[in-house]
């Protein structure tokens, strides 16, 4: 009975994931596509838990359906507003050409992928599980995923923070930041909500950061929560507050990478390989790096959400949406 119900759950979830992927992409209505994509992220979160991957589920919850969803909504709305201003037509698009060619190519690819899945040897060798667990006591943390991210493969994480920074550089050089709409009234309920939940979110972010050393959690989860605090505050108070000076954005986003690199080079000067922690103190160094990375990841994700370089804070209340058509109403 239990086994049957578990199988039914898995099959239903897999079907839902496939249906959501298909329907979020096949609709002409972009908002519908985005909302279905957010629901897709929720179902993926359930699938990660089913696959014993709570770390991925946490990141999926925070990043994929929180930050990416807000980013997509903002970009869609900005595009819509600027098209309305330019009298562009969003719905008139050329017909997709020759789908059958694509479909036959993809059928062949799907067959090959399915064959590859079924030809994986059934006796599971465990991959890198055995060495990863063997070295865990020496890695300084209790969670094998954190150990893989910040000890065994710390280079990956270093470069990943670098990629986030590069994305900010790219976004800043092609666009001005998207600003919260001014004409939409906020109201006491929203202000009260922001006042209660911003500190709560920061507290929970700290909890996830600390949790990462022993269980599922870590810098990315905590950083995404910090970014969510930023998104909430920008949306709520954005039209009435000054834009912070640009040096704060710059230092906030490179802080983590700086600490990470300084420590890596410091270890090299002590005669070890880059990011090779000294025996016994690995746990402390990992916590230092993770805390610095949390600040930077949060800041970077917030800057990415803003979708461009923030405008200079010369006067108060400058956050007038340039593409805002509302004033004409």
């Amino acid at each position: 009975m239990i086994d049957l119900a578990a199988k039914a759950f898995d099959a239903l979830l897999a079907g839902l994931i496939l249906w959501l992927a298909w329907s979020s992409l096949s609709t002409q209505d972009i908002l519908k596509g985005i909302v279905l994509f957010i629901a897709f992220g929720l179902c993926m979160g359930l699938a990660w838990v089913r696959l014993n991957a709570p770390d991925i589920a946490l990141v999926e919850a925070a990043v994929a359906s929180g930050i990416t969803g807000a980013m997509l909504l903002g970009a869609w709305n900005k595009m819509r507003l600027s098209l309305a201003k330019m009298r562009g037509d969003e719905t008139k698009l050329p017909e997709p050409g020759r789908p059958w060619l694509h479909i036959s190519g993809l059928m062949a690819m799907g067959g090959a992928l399915g064959w590859a899945i079924f030809s994986i040897p059934p006796e599971n060798t465990g991959g890198l599980l055995v060495p990863a667990m063997r070295e865990l006591p020496r890695s300084g943390v209790g969670n094998p995923v954190t150990a893989a991210l910040l000890n065994y493969r710390a280079y990956d994480t270093l470069l990943e923070i670098g990629v986030l920074l590069l994305a900010v550089v790219g976004v800043w050089s092609i666009a001005k930041s998207r600003k919260p709409a001014q004409g939409v009234p906020r109201g006491p309920i929203l202000y009260g909500f922001a006042r209660i939940s911003a500190p709560l979110l920061i507290l929970i972010g700290g909890y996830f950061l600390w949790l990462g050393t022993s269980r599922a959690g870590g810098a990315f989860q905590a950083g995404a929560l910090m970014a969510a605090v930023g998104v909430l505050l920008v949306l709520t108070y954005g039209p009435t507050r000054r834009v912070p000076a640009e040096w704060i954005d710059r230092w906030g986003s490179i802080f983590g990478l700086t600490v990470f690199l300084t420590l890596g080079i410091g270890f090299m000067l002590q005669g070890r390989a880059m990011l090779e922690y000294s025996a016994g103190s690995a746990g402390a160094w990992i916590l230092v790096i993770e805390s610095a990375a949390t600040v930077s990841i949060g800041w970077t994700l917030l800057l990415l959400f803003l979708g461009g370089r923030p405008q200079a804070a010369s006067q108060k209340g400058i956050l007038v949406e340039e593409d805002e058509v509302e004033g004409q109403a």
């Binding site: 109201g187 929203l190 909500f193 939940s197």
Partner: protein, 101 residues
């Protein structure tokens, strides 16, 4: 199966009923304002019962506090968001549904 487990399953069962009712409301009610009922009342009560049941079953204080936090966060979020969306719909000129229409 001891008493606590029976109580936990009863709570989870009540929660399930509220979820089913909420979804039925979401599907059957005629306009966006009525569908808000399904969102803000039935489902949040259902989540409350389910977290009560799960909390009884695990019997751990740290998880209990987390469950309470989850419930409060969802209550806060759904009441704020539905207020904002309903107000925006009303000011955007969407009039509530009436029977005689």
């Amino acid at each position: 199966m001891n008493g606590i487990e029976v109580l936990a399953s009863i709570f989870i069962g009540i929660g399930l009923l509220f979820f089913i009712a909420g979804t039925a409301g979401l599907l059957r009610f005629p306009d966006v304002y009525m569908r808000l009922h399904a969102l803000t009342k039935a489902d949040n009560l259902g989540l409350g019962f389910i977290s009560l049941g799960v909390g009884l079953q695990t019997g751990s204080w740290s998880i209990g506090v987390k469950l309470l936090l989850i419930w409060l966060a969802v209550l806060l979020a759904s009441s704020t968001v539905s207020h904002l969306i309903a107000r925006r719909a009303l000011r955007g000129g969407m009039s509530p549904w009436r029977r005689e229409q």
